[in-house]
């Protein structure tokens, strides 16, 4: 499990939901707040929201899988966001994504089995002048090269054992 994963507590959900009227239009905001708390959207959170707003769970699930902001699985201790906006793409972000797979064995949306690292791609960080950009948790790494990403992984304690193709 990820190091920062927290126990699921009904109280936490109640505190979040209490800030909103029980109306459909606040479902998105509630889900964002729950995800803000846990760094992912636990199933219990979706169930609580559905019950609170009185909509079918299928509708909440439909939204949770539609909007990209939500992750239904816990993220790693270090979450790499590789920007794959156009500026980053033409400066080689796909190579960085491949390199992460090569060295950590994870593709976008995945977490390493030990819960240490996860990878996602983001559309545009608006930091196009720093392309290609990689964000590790909150830290922005500008102008990352195919060899630079290896150093970044190492700097967060990643073991570099290139897996064979």
């Amino acid at each position: 499990m990820a190091a920062d994963s927290r126990p699921i507590k009904q109280k936490t959900f109640t505190n979040i939901l209490d800030q909103y009227p029980a109306e459909k239009r606040y479902i998105l905001a509630m889900m964002q707040d729950v995800q803000g708390e846990y760094k992912y959207l636990p199933r219990e959170g979706m169930q609580m929201i559905a019950a609170y707003v009185d909509v079918p769970l299928s509708r909440v699930y439909s939204m949770a899988t539609f909007y990209k902001a939500f992750s239904l699985v816990p993220k790693g201790r270090i979450n790499f966001k590789v920007c794959d906006g156009t500026a980053c793409h033409i400066k080689g972000s796909n190579i960085i994504i491949d390199q992460v797979y090569q060295y950590l064995g994870i593709r976008p949306g995945e977490t390493t089995p030990d819960g240490e690292f996860s990878l996602e791609t983001v559309n545009c960080l608006g930091a196009c002048a720093l392309a290609p950009a990689v964000v590790a948790n909150e830290k922005v790494h500008p102008k990352v090269t195919s060899s630079g990403i290896i150093d970044i992984i190492k700097s967060y304690g990643g073991q570099i054992n290139a897996t064979s193709n």
Partner: protein, 246 residues
Amino acid sequence: MKIRIDQQEIDVNPGETILEAARQNGINIPTLCYHEAFGGQGMCRMCMVEVKTAHSTNLVASCTYPINEVIEVHTSTPVIEKARRTIIALLYRTAPQSEFMKKLYQEYKCVENQLEINENERCILCRLCVRACEEIGSSAISAILRGTEKRISTPFDEASTVCIGCAACANICPTGAIELSQTPAGRTIWNRTFAVVTCQRCGQAFATREQLDYIAQHTGIKGSESKLCDDCRKKNLAAQIEQYAQ
């Protein structure tokens, strides 16, 4: 209000959609995602037609376009036919197991292509099942994910706790994409097996326990009445009326 569809002059009520107006007058416009019970969804885009207003000519989805002015409609032009053919070709490769799609693919004389086919799939994402589940069932299924990943499922792809096994989804599906197996032992749908209730009169399995409970809860129809299948209930009713008459 009078409009013209394919040279035919027809009377319409303002606000009515082109598709409704056409169908009422026996003019056929092809659709995949339309059902009278739910109205237009605008998803399959097979019902695109050409609309001429006083100012412009546009291609519109006839199932959602409300008639609010005098217009002239053409339901088939070379451009429209080509678009329909492409849509069928693409949907067929996504749901090649469906006999229905296969028939359409041949009917539209689609040109062969090299696209990979989605071997065991029958679903074309018309979402009639979702609408049926919302209206008749218990909103157990929905369209999940987005873009090219979009599909129909229960939450977490697991047996739904709220599904009542009514099979409204499977019954409305035009392509036979929803797996439904029914044996005397039970009805299996969306990864869940339901106990079936047999008709007290004819012995046919006709509903699931959950379905009857759901109906009882929402309509107040009592248990004893709901233990008969549709046919037998009608016969029962007829017999009662006869009794009264005598």
